[in-house]
Each structure stands twice: as structure tokens, then as C-alpha cells.
């Protein structure tokens, strides 16, 4: 401030002088030094107690035997144990009654979402939309179910799968290859394709479609029903709507009739605990298509 203070002239300096500029000696507090020593001692104690020094294989173990992996394992075990209460409740509840218990349903849906991402998303897509339209992997969000969309149906499908030989209870049906095996002539296939285009509300040749109706009734209706509405008991998809598993254009339908198309799904019993199967069914059921 105004006048140079007399006292400052008496204050000790470090003795350094650069172009006449001197430096006051402002010593650090002594306890600060002790704090520094304490951190050094702490580091040494830490090396002894905890894993610290990297070696060729692993690191020094530390006398406390601490391991972050063991911690994670313990946390996972604790989480599993906490979840077990819910899984038990899930198994004790009738599958149709799960939705009536909001807390249980919330658990089932969240647990099921995790199962879905790990086990189902490879084919059905992370969004459960069957990867893309016409991919052959069923979209689980819409309102059409080949094998039924109630909770019981979904649990049955997930448990035993579709068209696998691992489980006698697996859903099984097979469409004949009408063209490849010579069951229908190419002309008849053209007619029936136009009939299917007609009942699904798409552009078609009226004459061919009229002729195709009889072909359809003779060859297809036993599974797909007379009106083409499908039959979930045999896994026959509805043909009279806007949803197509293998594509709904004339060429795609012709290919399906000629070659016959069907998918295979593994059964998950034995791979997943029954409670997780119920959970994933509950998850799929509430995605928007559940019946």
C-alpha cells in the first residue's frame, strides 16, 4: 500500500537475489511436512496390505488377501440371492397371473429383458422385430403369432422351441415344397399366388386368382384355413393380412410355395432356469403383441 512497511524490511529472505528482486522466506507449516511423511508411510503400509507390485504373473497379493474379482463375485452372488426370492415367486405364480402383480411383473420384465438380449436377440433382433421385414425371423411386436401369443403359448415355445428334434414337445409342422416336389404345376402355383395376393389385399390378376381359389382350398386350406387366416395350432401363418415372414410380393410368395419355408428355434429348457424362461416370456408378452 502507501508507504513501504518498515516491518517488511526486517523479514528474512531466502538470500536469493535476481536483479535485485529478493524472495521472502515463507516457510511451510511443519505439520504439512508430517502429512507428507504420513502419506509415504501409508503407501508402504498399503503395499504390504493390498495387491500392489506388478510381477511377471499377477501382482503381489497383500497380506489382507483382498481381490477385486472376489468382490465382484461376492456382489454377483448377493444379487443372485436377492433375485432368487423373486424367481421363486415367479415359479409359484401361474403364468397368467404374473401381470396381476405389478411388482412381480416389473421384476419379470426387467429380468426377461436381460435374458432376451443374451439369448434371443441374435435372431429376433435387439428390438424383437425379427431383424427386418421378410427376414424369416418372426417379429414379436406385432399382433400375429404363428404359434399363439398368450403367456402359456410363449412359455411353451421358449421352453421346447420350434421344429427341433431335441424335445418331443417341440412345436412341429412342415409345409410341403409344392413346386420342387412336383405337387403343383407352375401354372397352378401362379394361380394360388394370385389368390393369396387377392386375400391379402394386394394387386393381383383376377382370372388367375379366381382359378387359384380351388387350388388353395385343395392344397393349403387344411393348415392355412379356407379364408387364409392361418392356424396357430399347427404354426400356419395367416396369409390374409399385411404381415409376411418371408416377404409378401408375388415373387416372394411364389418362392415360398415352390420351396416351402420354415424356421427352427432351439428349446431353452435345460439351458435356462425355468424362472428365466417365464421372465423372458413375460418380457415378450408386454412388448405390444401379447394376447
Amino acid at each position: 500500500m502507501a508507504t513501504p512497511n518498515k516491518k517488511n524490511h526486517d523479514r528474512p529472505t531466502t538470500g536469493h537475489s535476481w536483479d535485485g528482486i529478493e524472495e521472502f522466506d515463507n516457510p511451510m507449516p511443519r505439520w504439512w511436512l508430517w502429512t507428507f511423511y504420513a502419506t509415504i508411510i501409508w503407501a508402504v503400509v498399503y503395499w504390504i496390505l493390498f495387491p500392489a507390485w506388478p510381477l511377471v504373473r499377477g501382482a503381489t497379493a497383500g497380506v489382507l488377501g483382498y481381490s477385486s474379482r472376489a468382490d465382484v463375485a461376492a456382489e454377483i452372488a448377493a444379487a443372485d440371492q436377492a433375485n432368487q426370492v423373486w424367481y421363486d415367486q415367479l415359479m409359484a405364480t401361474d403364468v397368467t397371473e404374473i401381470a396381476a402383480n405389478p411388482e412381480l411383473e416389473r421384476f419379470a420384465v426387467n429380468a426377461g429383458a436381460a435374458v432376451f438380449r443374451a439369448q434371443c436377440s441374435q435372431c429376433h433382433g435387439a428390438g424383437a422385430n425379427g431383424l427386418r421385414p421378410g427376414s424369416g425371423f418372426p417379429n414379436l411386436l406385432d399382433d400375429e403369432w404363428m404359434w399363439g401369443g398368450t403367456m402359456e403359448d410363449i412359455v411353451q415355445t421358449v421352453t421346447y422351441g420350434i421344429r427341433n428334434t431335441d424335445f418331443p414337445d417341440a412345436r412341429y409342422s412342415e409345409m410341403p415344397s409344392f413346386g420342387r416336389d412336383g405337387l403343383l404345376t407352375p401354372a397352378e402355383i401362379d394361380q394360388v399366388v394370385n389368390h393369396v395376393l387377392a386375400i391379402s389385399g394386394q394387386a393381383h390378376d383376377n382370372a388367375l386368382a379366381a382359378a387359384g381359389e380351388q387350388v388353395f382350398l385343395d392344397n393349403c386350406a387344411s393348415c392355412h384355413m379356407d379364408d387364409g387366416s392361418g392356424d396357430p395350432f399347427v404354426g400356419a401363418p395367416a396369409l390374409n393380412n399385411a404381415i409376411w415372414l418371408y416377404g409378401g410380393s408375388a415373387d416372394e410368395i411364389r418362392a415360398s410355395v415352390h420351396n416351402a419355408r420354415f424356421g427352427i428355434m432351439p428349446g431353452f429348457t435345460g439351458r435356462l432356469p425355468d424362472a428365466q424362461i417365464r421372465a423372458v416370456a413375460a418380457y415378450v408378452h408386454q412388448l405390444g403383441g401379447g394376447q
Binding site: 500500500m1 523479514r11 516457510p27 507449516p29 511443519r30 411386436l141 399385411a242
Partner: protein, 477 residues
């Protein structure tokens, strides 16, 4: 410079203990009242009740970390309204700038918890050990029965204050009466005991032993404040032109050979920071005003005018030195810098108040499901899915009614709910899956995207809110 020649530089120095003497005066009285007010607010606030109905806490001020709610009397802040807290923190910062630019380190000297608690600890110290000279004597005395008894009593009282400090802190975070009952019956959560233990220890150490070192070594504010102060800032200063040359009038010396300062050391002895204000403004000075009281007391006794040490601005110094009267305090305080700070502070405050009164107690956020963007249903209609977070910021459970605005071709349905009404519990939020469906052939189903607006209203109330989102159609396909 002469002293540095035979001087061995020291890297580390032992702390010089400070034994502030008792002082009486207007600033001391003000500080007692401020201490009582601030400690009173701190200890009493968690115990004030406020009726919020049967489902919510009745604690007036509650930081409910577990449920992510902040209650302040009639105001309840949810996490998505954190900008209120951010705004208050900005106001606190600007307020600190304002007070520092106007009155220097007035926060440090009067309101900082470190200052207030240290003041309280020094009071206890004086009760137990006596005033400065008695304390100094006891400090230099070797350990014996008297020293053990007095130091033990002092430390015990300090610990009790520390315990009360940490104990009061935890009451802000959960229901105070319940927690107190749990604490004394040893049923409380370990985190509560841990917090109390930690704050007891820090209060005990910072108030009892670290004291001025917290301000000198630990606190960033003494470094920052220099940028807030200028030559019009009112701060504590020594009228050196009046006081020097300091010293006592001895026999034979001519009248007027000394200034008003009789070098009685009263200002140094009362200083809780252990500094000499006659060295002028310095980093360690927290401007607590106690040296003013001490010096005025002495000036009264020797019949000299008061305010040899007093609040003044830097510009006044040159005026007074030249024999001119100082500018009035108000002229110092009202200057562009403080007016800018005040305007900013008040502007943010007004903005927050307006936001507080305009907000509704219903809120919605829409997160559209993007995988897939749309689903084709069997009848050819196009369906989009949205997760809608509904917040019921009200003490009662209420029914939320969802509608889609101005688009007759889009219908709204909800997962697991019949109709368009959904009940949200008191002070709760709910994530509801909502489907918007556009019939086959409608513009929304055919377009790539259609903007839609969703409205939420509450049964029996007039407030309603909307959210904007997008409906994905099948596009060019």
C-alpha cells in the same frame, strides 16, 4: 536486507499458537448476535415441520437423497428441476462477489463457518482457562494436574460441540425425530454414525487446532478475493499517518513527537489470526473487526479520537492523508462493479422465482422407441411405441389423461391399461408404454415422419402440458 546475511532459510516452520484476548465493542457485539443467529438457524431448521399430507415427509427442509427429492417449505424440487439448485449456487457465488467487492472479506470475518465455530471454540477456551494471559501461562506450563484438568475439560467441551455440529448435519437428510430416536437407541444407519463421527472430528480439529491455518493454507477464497476488490472496497485499515511514529509518550519528549498509536499491542492481542493489522491489509486478515473494537477502547482511554484502525477504502487513504474528508460509504458501495453484480444477482433470482411460480406439478418426458421405428400390424396399420415418463409432483395420487392432438388418423393406446387414463401415485413417477397407431393408408402411416403432440391433463384439474415427438410412418416403401 541485513537480516538475510546471517540467516539460514527455513523450509518449514512450527505454528505459532494464537491466544486472542477478550474484547468488547460494537463489532464484537455484532459478531455475538450473528453467531447466535447462524447457529440457531443451523440447529433449529431440521426440526421445523411442514404439513404435506400423509404420503410425504412433514419436515420443512429436507434433502431426501434416497428418494431424490429436495423439500424447502412449500417448494419441492425433483431431480429434473436441478437448475433451481444450480441457479441458487450461482446466486450464492455472485452474492459473494458483491459483498467482497463492496465490503472486502466480510464473509470470512462474520459468516464463514470456520470463523463462527473457531469463535465459539475460543469462547469455550476462555471459559475454561481464562483470558489471554492465563492461557499463555497454562500453555507454557509443563504438564501437570491443572493443565491436564483444564485441557481435558476444554477438549471434552469442544468434542461435545463437534458432536452437536455433526449431529445436526445428518438431520437435514432424513426425518429428524425418527433419526434422533434411532441414534440414541443405536438403530440408525452406519452412514449416519460415520457422518457424525467425521464432522465431529473435522469440527474438533479445525475449530480447536487448525483455526487460522485453514484460512491461510487451506481456503481458496483468500486467493480469489483479490480479483473482487478494488480501491473503493471498504476494508479494515490502520491510519498509519495518524498513528506513526508509534510509541508511548515518555518524560522529556516533546508533545507530538509520537503518533496516536501507543504501541499497546491491543489490536495484535485480540486478533484470532495472530497478525498485526498495522502491517496493513494482508492475506491472513479475515476482517473480523475485533482490532477496531480493541483500538477504539484504548483510544477512548487515552482521550484520542476513535478509528485509528477502522473500515475505510483505499481511495480514502490519500484523501485523509491530504487532510480531506473521506468519501461517504454509500459512494464507495454504489459503483458500476457492485451495480453489475447486484443486477446479475437479482436477475437470476427473479428468473428463478418466475420459473418457480410458472411450473406445473405434472411433467412428462417422451422417449420414442427407435428399434424398430415402427411396426406393421396385421390390418396394415402402422404402430409407433413411446416410453412416457409421467411425473406426479403432488402429494395426492392422480389420474393422468393422455391424448394425441389434432391428428384424427392416429389413435393412442397404452400397454396394460384400458382407455387413456393412468394413475400415478403421490409424489411418484411412472414409465408408461404408449402406442400410437395410424390406420393403413392415412397420411401419417404413409409419410416418413409426422410431428405429433401429446397432451397430458389431470382429472378434475385445469393444468395440462404437452410434449412434442415424431411419428414414423412406412415412408416411401
Amino acid at each position: 536486507m541485513s537480516s538475510s546475511e546471517n540467516y539460514e532459510p527455513q523450509l518449514y516452520a512450527k505454528r505459532e499458537p494464537v491466544f486472542p484476548r477478550r474484547v468488547k465493542g460494537s463489532f464484537r457485539t455484532l459478531k455475538w448476535w450473528l453467531m447466535a443467529l447462524m447457529l440457531g438457524v443451523y440447529y433449529i431448521t431440521p426440526w421445523i415441520r411442514w404439513d404435506r399430507g400423509p404420503d410425504l415427509s412433514d419436515q420443512a427442509v429436507l434433502v431426501d437423497l434416497a428418494n431424490r427429492r429436495f423439500f424447502f417449505f412449500m417448494v419441492e424440487i425433483w431431480p429434473h428441476e436441478f437448475y433451481f439448485v444450480a441457479g441458487l449456487l450461482i446466486m450464492a457465488g455472485i452474492g459473494l462477489f458483491l459483498f467482497t467487492s463492496a465490503l472486502g472479506r466480510v464473509w470470512c470475518g462474520y459468516a464463514c463457518p470456520q470463523t463462527v465455530w473457531t469463535d465459539l471454540y475460543i469462547l469455550v477456551e476462555r471459559w475454561v482457562e481464562g483470558d489471554r494471559n492465563a492461557r499463555l501461562r497454562l500453555y507454557r506450563q509443563p504438564w501437570g494436574a491443572e493443565k491436564i484438568r483444564k485441557y481435558g475439560t476444554k477438549w471434552f467441551l469442544w468434542l461435545l460441540i463437534g458432536l452437536a455440529t455433526g449431529g445436526a448435519w445428518v438431520f437435514y437428510f432424513t426425518d429428524a425425530p425418527t433419526l434422533l430416536r434411532d441414534l440414541v437407541t443405536f438403530d440408525a444407519h452406519p452412514v449416519a454414525y460415520g457422518t457424525i463421527a467425521f464432522l465431529t472430528a473435522t469440527t474438533f480439529l479445525f475449530g480447536g487446532f487448525f483455526r487460522e491455518q485453514v484460512c491461510i493454507y487451506g481456503c481458496p477464497w483468500p486467493r480469489i478475493q483479490a480479483a473482487m476488490m478494488d480501491e473503493d472496497t471498504i476494508t479494515i485499515s490502520y491510519r498509519e499517518w495518524r498513528g506513526e511514529p508509534r510509541g508511548k509518550q515518555r518524560k522529556g519528549e516533546a508533545e507530538g513527537s509520537h503518533g496516536d498509536c501507543i504501541d499497546c499491542m491491543a489490536c495484535v492481542n485480540v486478533c484470532p489470526m495472530g497478525i498485526d493489522i498495522r502491517d496493513d491489509q494482508q492475506l491472513a486478515c479475515i476482517t473480523c473487526g475485533l482490532c477496531i473494537d480493541a483500538c477504539n477502547d484504548v483510544m477512548d482511554k487515552i482521550g484520542k479520537p476513535r478509528d485509528l484502525i477502522g473500515y475505510m477504502a483505499l481511495t480514502d487513504e490519500t484523501r485523509e492523508r491530504a487532510g480531506n474528508p473521506p468519501k461517504s460509504i454509500w459512494k464507495h458501495v454504489f459503483r458500476p462493479r457492485t451495480i453489475v453484480y447486484t443486477t446479475l444477482w437479482a436477475g437470476i433470482g427473479l428468473g428463478l422465482l418466475v420459473a418457480l411460480f410458472l411450473r406445473t406439478d405434472i411433467d412428462m418426458s417422451i422417449s420414442p422407441i427407435r428399434n424398430p421405428t415402427y411396426v406393421t400390424l396385421s390390418n396394415g396399420s402402422i404402430r409407433n411405441t413411446y416410453d412416457i415418463r409421467l411425473r406426479n409432483m403432488n402429494e395426492n395420487a392422480r389420474q393422468f389423461y393422455l391424448t394425441v392432438a389434432d391428428n384424427p388418423s392416429i389413435t393412442l393406446t397404452m400397454e396394460g391399461v384400458q382407455g387413456q387414463l393412468v394413475t400415478v401415485g403421490p409424489d411418484e413417477q411412472l414409465i408408461q408404454r404408449v402406442y400410437l397407431t395410424a390406420s393403413a393408408g392415412t397420411p401419417a402411416a404413409a409419410a416418413a415422419t409426422t410431428p405429433v403432440r401429446l397432451w397430458v391433463s389431470v382429472t378434475g384439474e385445469t393444468d395440462r402440458i404437452y410434449g412434442e415427438t415424431v411419428f414414423n410412418g412406412s415412408g416411401q416403401r
